[in-house]
Symmetry: C2
Subunit: 247 residues, 2 copies
Amino acid sequence: MSERVVPPTARRRRRPTKQGVVLSEELIVATALRLIEEHGAEALSVRRLGRALGADPSSLYRYFRHTDDLMLAIADELIGRTLRIWRPTGDWRSDLRDLGLRMHAGALAHPRAAVLSSYRVTGRAYEIQAVETILGVLRDAGFPDAEAVRIYHAFVDQSLAFGALDSASTALPKSAQEGEAGVWRATYARLPADTHPHIAATARHLVADMPRSSYPAALDLLLSAAAARLAEIRARPRAAGERTAAD
Amino acid sequence: MSERVVPPTARRRRRPTKQGVVLSEELIVATALRLIEEHGAEALSVRRLGRALGADPSSLYRYFRHTDDLMLAIADELIGRTLRIWRPTGDWRSDLRDLGLRMHAGALAHPRAAVLSSYRVTGRAYEIQAVETILGVLRDAGFPDAEAVRIYHAFVDQSLAFGALDSASTALPKSAQEGEAGVWRATYARLPADTHPHIAATARHLVADMPRSSYPAALDLLLSAAAARLAEIRARPRAAGERTAAD
DNA sequence: CTTAACAGGTCAACGGTGTTGTCATAAGGT
DNA sequence: ACCTTATGACAACACCGTTGACCTGTTAAG
């Protein structure tokens, strides 16, 4: 079978499907995203995608070597979309907060792609652009280089990790998802105070808090720690920590 | 078929498999963990597990209602193992730091299982014990109830999320893993300063920092933000934030 | 000790999945 | 107008989770 997948630039013969659709990488990615949005993450399968496109499932293998390839293409598109709608204001803290929330929301909108893309470095255009932008925000705010990289790393990984985590729960079958919320109400909220005093004392808060994502809270904690660090650095610029920008 | 799954305590008739194995919930969970470790998360299927146990796949449905149930049992076993080796000292911050690092290390030790279990609420014995313990640490430190739950939630989810994230990268094929590290050296470190000034300025730090986990840094940021919050609460106990313990 | 109930292991089947080898045909360059 | 070949279609393979019906050894009651 030599090479099954042809680079998009080399594609010339646009031959329509039996059902009259002209396939393309873009159309496939767009249709996959639509499928995920409309019928949930578990609705995305090669066969279903083929059916939705009006093409034989095996046709897709002319465009993507396997399902993972397709997922990465979807993920790349998502990074681009997130970055494109983000507008920095100049206030580093609220800019990062906004970007973090957008990245998280983008991941939740496309759970399966988020889980796959969270732990991969692509080195592609959109990713590079994101790195440059975030580092710029931090350095312009006054963080020394080593500190800027440290905080950039924690910030990005936190967004990706929570994006993947929360995506995974939304990708669960509906029944399991309802079950999770029920556990806090049915199991935890009913534990007796004499055996589990701390759970019993906070039961009300647990039931309210636990079924929601903790990403906003975690993000705010990270940003406020970073802000405290920055204040410290500004107060005594040469001896703020173990290292400075010039180390 | 009435009820297929019997509670473990009510099990009496220990009838061996055709191949001579006596099944039990424990044996099934242990075998599943072994399978995951040896052949990867995708190697865990009801059929493969049955084969590894020396039993018909459908036998497992006498012990777990469906695959999800089995996953929860596996997750809980992992929580138990981590909790069992943790010893609190009474200093909330270093206790949580220690526990966080242990959870993260535990996830890395069982990469494929960690990814599966990170996003599930089991409601089983070990998980309940962990919730009670951590909430106790926070409340004893002086956090009001709502704040304790908020920080507990962020702390636990962050540990699980980074555990899953870092596990996923270690679970990559060796070649892909080396490739990821190479991207920072080969692509990012070579970007010209005039188009990507911030990346160029921090390239040295990026190459050193990015291939390592950012979890310790993220954990320290979270804990130091929590400590700052606690100091604030202690200074003006009734008006520290939007809410107090008695809201 | 015998015996009847039934827990629990087995079998076969259903409808789904990703993926591949082979074939047919229409598009495009010549 | 012809020939090449890109690309879509088809059929098949090996998996997957799950279920209903069946069979049999264990156990408790008599």
